[in-house]
């Protein structure tokens, strides 16, 4: 019997330049391990992530999407993170019609929290592994 290969999810990360992307750097320079399943994309602000980018990732077959922003009160652009959170709540409701609402996250990780970054990425990857592959991955007609 051949050994079945463990499911390795693809998770897209939209990380804000000022906090979460810097935290990712800190995690790296501090030699903290986080899964290679995360494909980070640096953005100027979590508030600049239009839902269409998250949707496009999911409908193209990404297994999960995480948006990382500054902690409340610390947004470099004052309130981008709060607006991003509202958008995320709309997105989750829309995605619930497709059964994909548990594949998206928004997390506040400050530039100083390299350890939190590594922990959150591990958690998210574990959760996506439990969910299994995105059912849209093999759908050609969407």
């Amino acid at each position: 019997m051949t050994e079945q290969k463990e499911f390795e999810p693809v998770i897209i990360g939209f990380f804000c330049n000022w906090c979460t992307a810097t935290a990712a750097d800190l995690a790296g320079t501090s030699r903290m391990q986080y899964p290679a399943n995360i494909r980070p994309i640096r953005v100027r602000c979590s508030g600049s992530v239009d839902p269409v980018y998250i949707l496009r990732a999911l409908l193209s077959g990404a297994d999960g999407v995480i948006v990382g922003g500054c902690p409340p009160g610390d947004c470099h652009y004052v309130s981008g993170n709060f607006k991003a959170r509202r958008r995320m709540s709309v997105l989750k409701k829309v995605l619930s019609n497709l059964g994909l609402e548990n594949r998206v996250w928004i997390k506040w990780i400050s530039a100083a929290e390299g350890a939190k970054f590594a922990r959150v990425m591990n958690e998210v990857t574990e959760q996506v592994k439990k969910l299994g592959p995105n059912p849209l991955k093999s759908q050609w007609s969407v």
Binding site: D50, P51, V52, L55, R56, L59, S60, G61, G69, P72, G73, S79, N81, F82, K83, A84, R85, R86, R87, M88, S89, V90, L91, K92, K93, V94, L95, N97, L98, G99, W105, I106, K107, W108, P135, L136, K137, S138, Q139, W140, S141, V142
Partner: protein, 373 residues
């Protein structure tokens, strides 16, 4: 601050009463022009029109059950670039008024110098259904209006209208009320703002109480709520889950007509028409290779889901998207249900007030902790 008066219905009928009121506004120079639904010469269509003289008043017909376009779009066309320099009385259905309020909040229209005149809405038929009734000479305005005032169902009404919980306008200067009235003898004119009060005084109308009507309006709306719940039950079964959603959208050809007809979708350059969607051949071929096949045109689900994300919190449920669909995809059912759920979660009713901020432009710091921490 609200004054009410009964406008008597005489032998010219209810339309005569409404026309007389509007003509008076023009003739007494209380407004400079009207923006009203006007019958085309063959009567088979009724279209939003700017009218500057009362000569055409006999063609004014805000009660015809037809909405070929949500006229909020056109008020946006009229006032989006600069506000109106003259006083214009705008006669609209409740869903058009609500869409207009949303467009004002989205900075796509200006209410300066616009006198909003709402009207209790008997609902509308599809454009071709209405045309057929007129051509066959079988349309009865009386039946239509008594269906509204007596709360009876009319299976020919568009889906969106049958379960509409806003048959009475929310935000207006004047409202022409039919519900709770004996429409053979009179309709009620409600003056709701300072400007309307001034006109009310200038027209020397006799003030009456509007209390009888209130109970009837409440009854009608609660019946509509029941109907909406039944409607939503079916819609939930139709759209929940990937397979159901896919089947609901199966006939979509990505023509974007629903977006064009939508009064809320206002972007001049839609993301979906941008060069970001001009892909090279090798891109399509590589996607096809990944999945074994690729439906063309691509991104149908993405289009609808994105439009939901962008505008559903302001969706007024007018149903123009479904009307515009060449293949009868029930787009508006999706938007009504998802919109209702989301608007409720933000305690937001599109078109209720100009002061309430759009859910996606505002926030509270201490909210939604279950979504993001």
């Amino acid at each position: 601050m609200e004054s009410n008066a009964i406008l008597p219905v005489r032998k010219e009928g209810i339309l005569g009463t409404i026309r007389t009121f509007l003509a008076e506004l023009l003739d007494k120079r209380l407004v400079d022009s009207l923006f009203v639904p006007l019958e085309l010469p063959g009567r088979e269509n009724v279209v939003p029109t700017i009218v500057t003289s009362s000569d055409l008043i006999t063609a004014v017909n805000p009660l015809a059950p037809i909405m070929s376009i949500n006229s909020a779009r056109l008020v946006s066309r009229l006032t989006g670039t600069s506000s109106s320099p003259q006083k214009v009385a705008i006669v609209m259905r409740p869903c058009e008024l609500r869409a207009l309020v949303e467009l004002v909040k989205l900075k796509q229209a200006s209410l300066d110098n616009l006198l909003l005149i709402g009207i209790d809405c008997p609902g509308t038929y599809s454009v071709n259904d209405y045309r057929r009734l007129i051509k066959e000479n079988v349309f009865s305005l009386n039946d239509l209006l008594s269906n509204l005032t007596e709360g009876k169902e009319d299976p020919l009404l568009r889906n969106a209208c049958q379960s509409c919980e806003y048959p009475v306008p929310l935000k207006t200067d004047f409202n022409l009320g039919l519900v709770g009235m004996d429409i053979n003898t009179g309709i009620i004119l409600e003056a709701k703002t300072e400007w309307a009060q001034k006109i009310f005084t200038a027209l020397t109308l006799k003030e009456v109480s509007g209390d009888d009507r209130k109970a009837a309006v409440t009854r009608l709306i609660s019946r509509r709520h029941e109907r909406r719940e039944t409607f939503f039950k079916h819609v939930r079964q139709d759209i929940r889950g990937l397979e159901n959603m896919r089947s609901t959208l199966a006939a979509c050809v990505n023509c974007h007509n629903c977006r064009t007809a939508c009064p809320i979708c206002y972007c001049r350059e839609c993301f979906f028409d941008s060069p970001l969607f001009d892909f090279e051949a090798r891109k399509y071929l590589s996607w096809a290779k990944q999945k074994g096949a690729l439906r063309m045109p691509t991104d149908i689900l993405l289009f609808h889901m994105t439009r939901l994300n962008h505008i559903v919190t302001s969706c007024v449920g007018c149903g123009m998207c479904t009307e515009a669909c060449p293949n009868k995809v029930q787009v508006s059912d999706i938007f009504r249900l998802v919109g209702h759920e989301l608007q409720k979660s933000f305690d937001y009713i599109p078109g209720r007030s100009l002061e309430e901020e759009l859910p996606l432009t505002t926030f509270r710091e201490d909210e939604l902790s279950e979504i993001g921490l």
